[in-house]
């Protein structure tokens, strides 16, 4: 049996314990992988590790990051949602119609777009909670229904005449580097930061966030301690609907038009980012920094391989392998830490 530590030994012990806990976190591994991959690309492709390139990357991935924040909440709650890309498209298209055909003012258009997103999210929640349909089935069904309706009513026609307030670039910060490159912090990046912060605060600092974690960990126990599981389902899917709609609006802002099928096929990338970051499909685990790191890794890989002139198909393979490797490292390292501890190891209090 280990002896109880004392004095400086104890401090070392505490640091060790902290490292042991840290080592089990997917974020730690992800961070190390990002450092390694980043350095590698930096050495191989000179243009890679420049500030403008990094900021550019962030902006490219801002839409996916915004939606990933919503998906993260749903994953933590123990569910899954496949319909967010369809939701984003529908919300974007509705808003675009209101803006270009009816010429409604900006606040109304934005509000309507977000409301459509939340509404579709709530339909998912209703199907899952009241009709007890498994989340993956319910959202796959919703995905086809809402996307097909969108294609039917839009006839697949894009909307190009978006108003200026929507499409003009908003720059919050601009600086010229010594090299002559220009660094801009634009609206999508700022919104991404805001969503990350909001989601982080919601999930770690508020009662409802902790309730969502509890529900993801053991839904029956959550019900038994008096958590309103139905309400949480609405909150989680509603929040994802909100995030998806916001992502849709930002996407139209970046490209300057609303194309009904522009967002399809982003499902897998967003899901990968969340899972890479440690959110589990089984629910109850994951963090916002983890999901952001997941997005960063995907962005770095894609951009780095691109700069190196590697085929985009190869990129898909790399993504797949990265997901496999990083999730297995996480699982293996946490399993090792999970060895049964004897009582002697539990630190005493006081």
């Amino acid at each position: 049996m280990p002896e109880p530590a004392s004095g400086p030994d104890r401090a070392v012990g505490a640091a060790l314990a902290r490292w042991r806990r840290l080592r089990r976190r997917p974020e730690t591994w992800l961070f190390l992988v990002i450092l390694a991959v980043g350095t590698l690309f930096g050495l191989m492709a000179p243009g890679f590790l420049t500030l403008p390139n990094v900021i550019d990357l962030l902006e490219t991935y801002s839409v996916q990051a915004i939606i990933a924040m919503g998906l993260f909440v749903v994953l933590v709650s123990g569910g899954i949602d496949i319909s967010f890309a369809a939701t984003a498209s529908v919300a974007q298209y509705c808003a675009a119609l209101l803006a270009s055909r009816l010429g409604l003012p900006a606040p109304l258009v934005i509000l309507a777009g977000l409301a459509v997103g939340v509404g579709l999210g709530c339909v998912n929640a209703a199907l899952i909670h009241h009709l007890r349909i498994t989340s993956i089935i319910a959202t796959i069904a919703m995905m086809s229904v809402s996307f097909s309706l969108l294609m039917y009513f839009s006839g697949g026609r894009s909307i190009y005449d978006l108003p200026d307030w929507w499409t003009s670039r908003v720059v919050f910060y601009r600086a010229e580097l010594a090299s002559g490159d220009i660094v801009r912090v634009t609206l999508p990046v700022v919104l991404m930061g805001a969503m990350a912060l909001l989601t982080w605060a919601l999930m770690t600092r508020t009662s409802i966030g902790r309730q969502i974690y509890a529900m993801g960990g053991n839904p029956e126990a959550a019900r038994r301690v008096g958590i309103d599981v139905g309400r949480l389902t609405y909150v989680a899917y509603g929040y994802l609907g909100f995030a998806a709609a916001l992502g849709g609006l930002v996407q139209a802002h970046r490209v300057g038009e609303s194309v009904p099928n522009a967002m399809v096929n982003t499902e897998l990338a967003v899901l990968s980012a969340a899972v890479l970051g440690g959110a589990s499909l089984a629910g109850g685990v994951g963090t916002v920094p983890g999901v952001l790191l997941g997005i960063v890794l995907l962005a770095i890989l894609q951009n780095g391989l691109n700069l190196l002139g590697v085929s985009p198909y190869f990129f898909q393979i790399v993504i797949g392998v990265t997901i496999l490797v990083s999730t297995s490292i996480t699982v293996l390292s946490s399993r090792r830490g999970r060895r049964l501890r004897t009582l002697g190891e539990a630190p005493s209090h006081g």
Binding site: R210, N218, R224, V225, G226, I227
Partner: protein, 497 residues
């Protein structure tokens, strides 16, 4: 006292799950500040009664009154608001959260956007655990805790919130005597504070120690309620089962039998050191000791789940290199873990499927397929031998009562026809009559030449079943006793000294 309105009164409560009538027309009351025991065989409806009063299951018929006022459509939140707390038999913890968040989960139930009171939650958890006098790493994830510590976490959660009535559904199942005594002291103190406690346990000696009144249930009906002073353990056993239960076998001298499993100088850092023992063919060998003595850790190593860092394991004289539990199963070693509820069963699957899980290979016919008839026959045989009460082989295990779930796990491993069977606390949560049934099965297996290692928290249990009992302390084997030569009492003195 009896003149005032009781805290809880239920009238004509019935509960049906599909075809299973779990509660039939139960009238019952719990007075303010009393300690009330609820006993009965496995599957008689104790947990269902508790869950009904806690708002988890709405009753099919009947009324629930609290403080003399009927509460229609009770749900968990409402029950809590009325001061009802439950320590559930399956613990109902959140494995992904820390001990603090589990114990003080109540603090996160407030308004949606209220900031989490981290410091407050820590204080609450620290205080309750101090009250229980049980050191737990507050920041550990519950998933990483051994069963006993999980049980302590669940108890702490029940005690942390403000309550007027606390249901404890087999809170002591995975605890050893020291913790049980502390819990019972706390129960006594709660009574002093005017908080009523309803206590479910299959250890009847505990029951008579703490309770003032006792309610016996059988097959979903209430048999009756008595002051504890008026009934003794024997009578309670009789009321529960309708028959007289005897137990005890005589220890046999197995020294002449050939050795089956020999362990020499086995060690694992921080768990156990220099363990040597010999299990003979047909012998039942008990291992007793305090929580954390390293008994479960030793068992896990013998079963190949953990690797030994030093020493040898010999099976019938041949060195056994266990790289994983698959090797152990292949060598004929079976292990029924103490953590049955989370490790042993696939809860949503049927009883039959769970039973044949470990013996699929043997059931295959020449074509490599598994005939349904053979599968069912095997499952039915074990259900019969262990007297598992089930609605049918196709019912999901999730719907069985706690004690019956445990017997399904046991049956699953017995069906592998092991040469060495390691049982870790096999009768936790099993009622007295069926405990006896399990002891008989063990004795039967031993007579057939199987070597059995029985890890138990109850000295009485090992003395009633084993030929030899080893005493483990702080990772080492420190003594050996032969039941009958050494008395139960002497052994307990040694362990708790």
């Amino acid at each position: 006292m009896s003149g005032e309105t009781p805290f809880l009164r239920i009238k004509g409560v019935s509960k049906r799950f599909g075809g299973v009538q779990a509660l039939i027309d139960v009238d019952w009351e719990v007075r303010r500040g009393e300690v009330h025991c609820l006993v009965g065989e496995n599957g008689c409806g104790k947990s269902t009664l508790i869950k009904t009063v806690a708002g988890v299951h709405p009753p099919t018929a009947g009324t629930i009154e609290i403080d003399g006022r009927p509460v229609p459509s009770l749900d968990p939140a409402k029950a809590k608001a009325l001061g009802i707390q439950v320590i559930f038999q399956d613990l109902s913890l959140f494995p992904n959260l820390t001990v603090v968040e589990n114990v003080a989960v109540e603090s996160t139930l407030g308004p949606a956007l209220r900031p989490v009171q981290k410091a407050g939650m820590r204080r609450i958890a620290g205080e309750v655990l101090a009250r229980l006098d049980f050191p737990l790493d507050l920041d550990a994830l519950v998933a990483d805790l051994p069963v006993a510590e999980r049980q302590i976490t669940a108890i702490a959660r029940g005690l942390a919130a403000k309550a007027r009535l606390i249901f404890m559904d087999e809170p002591t199942a995975s605890l050893t005597r020291a913790e049980v005594d502390r819990l019972l002291a706390i129960v006594a103190r709660l009574r002093g504070d005017g908080i009523a406690v309803v206590f479910v346990s299959h250890r009847l000696d505990e029951v008579v120690k703490v309770a003032e009144r006792l309610t016996v249930m059988r097959d979903g009906r209430k048999v009756g309620t008595w002051p504890v002073a008026e009934v003794d353990q024997r009578r309670i056993g009789h009321l529960m089962t309708g028959v007289d239960v005897e137990h005890g076998v005589v220890a046999r001298d197995m020294r002449a039998a050939p050795p089956l499993l020999a362990v020499e100088g086995l060690s694992r850092r921080g768990e156990f050191a220099d363990v040597s023992l010999t299990l003979r063919k047909g012998e039942v060998l008990g291992i007793v000791g305090l929580l954390g003595a390293g008994r479960t850790e030793l068992a896990l190593t013998l079963f190949g789940m953990n690797r030994a860092e030093g020493g040898r394991i010999l099976l019938e004289g041949r060195d056994l290199a266990l790289r994983s539990n698959r090797d152990a199963v292949r060598a004929g070693i079976a292990y029924v873990s103490e953590d049955r509820l989370s490790l042993g069963l696939v809860l949503p699957q049927s009883i039959g499927d769970n039973l044949v899980l470990a013996v699929m290979r043997r059931l295959k016919n020449r074509l490599g397929l598994m005939p349904q008839a053979r599968r069912r026959a095997l499952a039915a045989e074990w259900v019969e031998r262990l007297k598992v009460t089930i609605p049918g082989l196709d019912a999901p295990v999730r719907t069985l009562s706690g004690g019956n779930q445990q017997r399904v796990v046991l049956a699953k491993w017995l069906a592998t026809r092991p040469r060495v069977l390691i049982l870790d606390s096999p009768t936790v949560g099993v009622d007295i009559k069926n405990k006896q049934g399990i002891y008989e099965v063990v004795a039967d297996l031993a007579r057939g030449g199987v070597g059995v290692i029985l890890i138990s928290d109850e000295v009485a249990e090992t003395f009633a079943t084993c030929d030899r009992v080893l005493h483990m302390r702080a990772g080492r084997i420190v003594g050996e006793a032969v039941p009958g030569v050494v008395s139960e009492h002497e052994m307990e003195e040694r362990i708790y000294a």
